[in-house]
């Protein structure tokens, strides 16, 4: 008799849909579903829920993007739509995550350009979209309104709500039928609090993805891992305020000292390794979407996730 690793959990992670097909009023070639787990990840011959997905992150203003990411892509970075289309074709991520870094310049006010950017990206790629808005509460309302409007019908995942500024994001998501990323600073209580706050604005809980905030490997990742585990345990034990799928992005991976200082052929390898070794464990802790910025990380990560999902040895990692 083998040792069973399966547990009798009572809770179930909610399912979140990103993207809308033609039939649903959108323009995506396919939609993705995340969540649905009844158990810890990769356990059992038929793991529960949906397989973790890999999102490729890009930015509308590449000057505010890590050099390790833009260097490899080259000239494509100057046109956001081209960048998205090229990435979809060459590196086949599951989703595109667009960061509107242009909004981070002081005195930014050109919200109409955001609309144009989003429309062009939606045309350039058929993949479901995650969009990150401004990081300044003063312009949140205008920016999220514009994003929501431009992507109406496409059921995007909209980021990022935080405890101090969640109303604008939630309002845009509700008005235009999108979902929301709820980010809290590596703490299970704060994650739960934000979900309650969002719920009380009227946003249904099946339109929330938890971002417990992920530190890069060697830069606090173990804290994130532990909090993700705790969030997942609570959810599986029946806490519905934490029973949402998680999204993880080790934002700092490409700017850590080791990656910045790597020379020559080591530079590429170090960047990819850092993302891979941060994001693969994140899926083990329960993340449904992991995000990377170096295009070469996508293939390695997808194959490693496939291997774990199918119960094989992880090769090439």
């Amino acid at each position: 008799m083998g040792l069973s690793t399966l547990s009798e959990w009572t809770g179930r992670i909610g399912e979140l849909v990103i993207g809308a097909s033609h039939a649903e009023g959108g323009t995506r070639s396919h939609v993705v579903r995340i969540g649905g787990e009844r158990d810890l990840p990769y356990i059992g011959t038929h793991p529960s829920g949906h397989k973790p997905l890999v999102a490729y992150e890009l930015a509308d203003d590449p000057s505010l993007w890590p050099a390790a990411a833009t260097r490899y892509i080259g000239d494509w970075v100057h046109d956001t739509a081209d960048w998205a289309a090229y990435a979809e074709k060459e590196y086949t991520p599951d989703l595109i995550r667009l960061h509107l870094t242009s909004t981070r310049h002081r005195g930014f006010s050109d919200t109409s350009r955001i609309g144009t950017t989003i429309e062009s990206v939606l045309q350039a790629t058929r993949l479901p979209l995650i969009v990150e808005g401004s990081d300044d509460p003063a312009m949140d309302s205008a920016v999220y309104q514009k994003i929501g409007e431009a992507a109406e019908g496409e059921r995007i995942l909209l980021g990022t709500a935080e405890a101090g500024r969640y109303r604008s994001v939630a309002a845009a998501a509700m008005a235009y039928g999108h979902s929301v990323i709820a980010q809290s600073p590596i703490d299970i209580n704060l994650a739960k609090q934000l979900n309650i706050l969002l719920r009380e604005t009227g946003l249904p809980s099946d339109r929330i993805a938890i971002d417990p905030y992920t530190g890069a490997l060697g830069y606090g990742f173990e804290y994130s891992y532990s909090v993700m585990e705790r969030i997942r345990y609570s959810a599986l034990k029946g806490d519905t305020d934490l029973a949402m799928p998680m999204i993880s992005s080790a934002t700092d991976s490409l700017t850590v000292k080791e990656v910045r200082e790597a020379q020559g052929s080591e530079a590429e390898k170090t960047a990819v390794a850092w993302e891979l070794y941060s994001m693969l464990p994140a899926t083990i802790a329960g993340a449904s979407i992991v995000c990377v910025r170096h295009p070469l990380s996508i293939a390695g990560l997808k194959s490693a996730i496939d291997s774990l999902w199918n119960g094989e040895n992880v090769e090439g990692v």
Partner: protein, 637 residues
């Protein structure tokens, strides 16, 4: 020496050049408001220098004053040096004001039994003769035994009393009254006087608080209250909070603090005995409950080592001595009983709270909470007890809140919001025009703002609500409680988002402490039979609102019981019933002190509690139901 003239009273004092105005004011007998102990941090001791030469670093401390105030010569009295003859105006707000001192006692769980530790015997002794040459003392003690008192051989007579005996016996014609007390060493003859004074047998119960002193004088014949006195702890002029007192003691001020404590008690004793028309000499026992630092200072024991790691008090048992040895103005040889302390933070005042609540004498599990700037929480029953203490911060008492104030006249102490119009209706202390908000008013307001959905569960004001009372303040959003025209200070009284956050952090530390003790004991909120609130704060706040904001765990509100000033109540119980002194010692030994800083789950509980009422909403089912209904009301219009 320069002369300092204080306005508006024109009181004058001379003081050495270079002294601070604060020192001059204290010398002149003013009780200045010195929250920080004279470190220039609180801004409460401000004065207006009208004329004369002073030294004051306006750049460093300018932030405390508006431009207008600066023009009028506003200075911090503790940071301003007198360089010549000056005239200084002390604004009313810079003086310690009359406050609601809680003197009510209520001992729900404990019937007041009368078993005092002092007896009086009126004796008519037969004078000695050549046939009967037994000594005076033996004759007297035999008389006591024959009157039903303790056996002759079991009474100890101290030298001071023996010296009095021959004269008193003869001058009184052998008709005397002997007073015997039961002290830890056994029976003790403490007084011998002429005639029959058995009708005058009194005791005093004292609550020696950091801020206030309360004294009850009770008849030890029938237990009745004959007089009550209260006043400020005069140590306030050496610093308002406990730490500044300890620091003052460290700087060589222990003797002065001890003297001020005694002076404060004596003043209250005088008030109480005068109102009762009794002689203080007829007070034969004094029972004092106070926090650890206060009782140590009263006994003249250096408290300095207690506030340093590893935080060990000098004694963890009750102390007894002669009241006169510390300077209390009561009967000669009268005993002084001091409640024991468990740790630096769990002092005799808390033991007195526990005694007054009766929680240590029942199988029911109770939670006892005493809130001030620091809070103490005790969980348990007759078999076991856990206690912890922590800092709640000054917000719940009105500190660090823009329009926060102590429970002085003019403080808004109750607030209600109309859920639809958001119009507040409030009540102030003494019905004066509002000057600010005190603790109970702040808790009301917090609960009402939550009910009205003006704030979310993290305390952020929803600025999207179009309403004249919700506006962007200087730095953060704020809610207007009272318009300028209705207040007594000439400006709008508001509560800011920062105030609300400070309040939430304060309440979270109390709730997290309760939860931590409950987790340690494996007790759920359903198993708690009563929650006892002791102290002034607990007496005035709304129990419903305390539960709504998650200051205390949710249990049926009728089982939340306020015991008023538990320290004075406990002292009264021990004074009237000597058998309770054993209970007191048992309580002190039974309590397991939980150091919150060393408990890894406390921080988690704290973060979970920084939410209204708590992140785990299932802990507050009643509040959730109520809030759901409020949300419906708010969305109706």
């Amino acid at each position: 020496m320069p002369t300092v003239t204080f306005l508006p009273s024109f009181r004058k004092t001379e003081i050495a050049k270079g002294s601070t105005i604060l020192e001059a004011a204290q010398k002149a007998g003013f009780h200045m408001n010195v929250v920080c102990g004279g470190q220039g941090k609180c801004g409460k001791c401000s004065v207006m220098v009208r004329s004369g030469d002073v030294e004051f670093d306006r750049e460093k401390y300018g932030g405390f004053f508006s431009d207008e105030e600066a023009v009028q010569g506003a200075c911090l009295s503790c940071q301003t040096r007198v360089m010549g003859d000056i005239r200084v105006l002390i604004p009313e707000g810079s003086l310690v004001q009359e406050q609601q001192i809680l003197i009510d006692i209520d001992t729900p769980g404990v019937p007041l039994e009368l078993n005092p530790a002092v007896w009086k015997y009126a004796l008519a002794l037969s004078p000695p003769t050549l046939d009967d040459q037994s000594p005076d003392l033996t004759r007297l003690l035999w008389g006591i035994e024959k009157s039903g008192g303790p056996k002759e051989g079991s009474i100890y007579a101290p030298l001071e009393v023996i010296r009095e005996i021959p004269r008193v016996l003869r001058e009184s014609g052998w008709k005397i009254t002997a007073t015997v007390a039961l002290v830890p060493g056994g029976f003790r003859l403490i007084h011998v006087e002429k005639g029959d004074t058995t009708a005058h047998r009194y005791g005093a119960a004292v609550d020696l608080g950091t801020t206030t002193v309360v004294v009850y004088i009770r008849s030890l014949i029938d237990g009745s209250i004959v007089g009550i006195g209260s006043n400020y702890n005069r140590q306030i002029s050496c610093g308002e909070d406990i730490l500044s007192r300890v620091n003052y003691a460290k700087r060589g001020g222990l003797g002065k603090l001890q003297a001020l404590a005694v002076e404060s008690i004596n003043a209250a004793l005088t008030t109480a005995s005068n109102s009762a028309g009794i002689d203080r000499e007829d007070i034969y026992e004094v029972v004092v409950a106070g926090n650890t630092i206060m009782t140590h200072i009263l006994m003249g024991i250096d408290p300095a080592y207690m506030i340093e790691e590893p935080y060990v008090p000098v004694v963890r048992r009750y102390l007894t001595t002669a009241a006169q040895r510390v300077g209390l103005a009561v009967g000669k040889n009268s005993g002084l009983f001091i409640f024991p302390a468990v740790s630096d933070f769990i002092g005799g005042d808390i033991i007195a709270d526990i005694l007054a609540s009766g929680m240590a004498e029942t199988n029911d599990i109770s939670l006892l909470i005493d809130i001030g700037t620091n809070f103490e929480v005790v969980l348990g029953n007759r078999d076991w007890m856990f206690a912890c203490a922590g800092a709640a911060g000054p917000a719940l008492e009105g500190g660090e809140v823009l329009f926060g104030m102590r429970a002085n006249p003019g403080a808004i102490e109750q607030v209600q919001l109309d859920l639809q119009t958001l119009k507040p209706s409030y009540r102030t202390i003494r019905n004066q025009r509002p000057k600010g908000l005190c603790g109970s008013g702040l808790i009301d307001l917090l609960a009402e703002l939550l009910r009205a959905c003006v704030i979310d569960r993290t305390g952020r004001i929803n600025t999207a609500i179009p309403h004249e009372r919700i506006r962007q303040g200087r730095q953060v959003p704020e809610f207007v409680v009272a318009w300028k025209e209705e207040t007594g200070i000439g400006k709008d009284i508001v509560i800011t988002e920062n105030d609300i956050k400070a309040l939430i952090m304060s309440k979270a530390s109390v709730l997290a402490a309760c939860q931590t003790l409950m987790n340690q004991a494996g007790i759920g909120r359903e198993e708690i039979a009563q929650i006892y609130f002791s102290g002034a704060f607990g007496n005035y706040i709304s129990k419903d609102h305390a539960i709504t904001i998650g200051l205390i765990p949710e249990i049926p509100v009728e089982r939340v019981i306020t015991i008023g000033n538990g320290a004075i109540a406990g002292a009264n119980i021990a004074l009237l019933n000597r058998r309770k002194k054993r209970v007191i010692d048992e309580i002190a030994r039974k309590i397991a002190y939980i150091e919150l800083n060393a408990d890894p789950t406390f921080m988690d509980e704290y973060t979970g509690s920084c939410f209204l009422p708590h992140t785990d909403l299932s802990l507050f089912p009643g509040v959730e139901k109520m809030l759901d209904q409020c949300r419906i009301v708010r969305e109706l219009p």
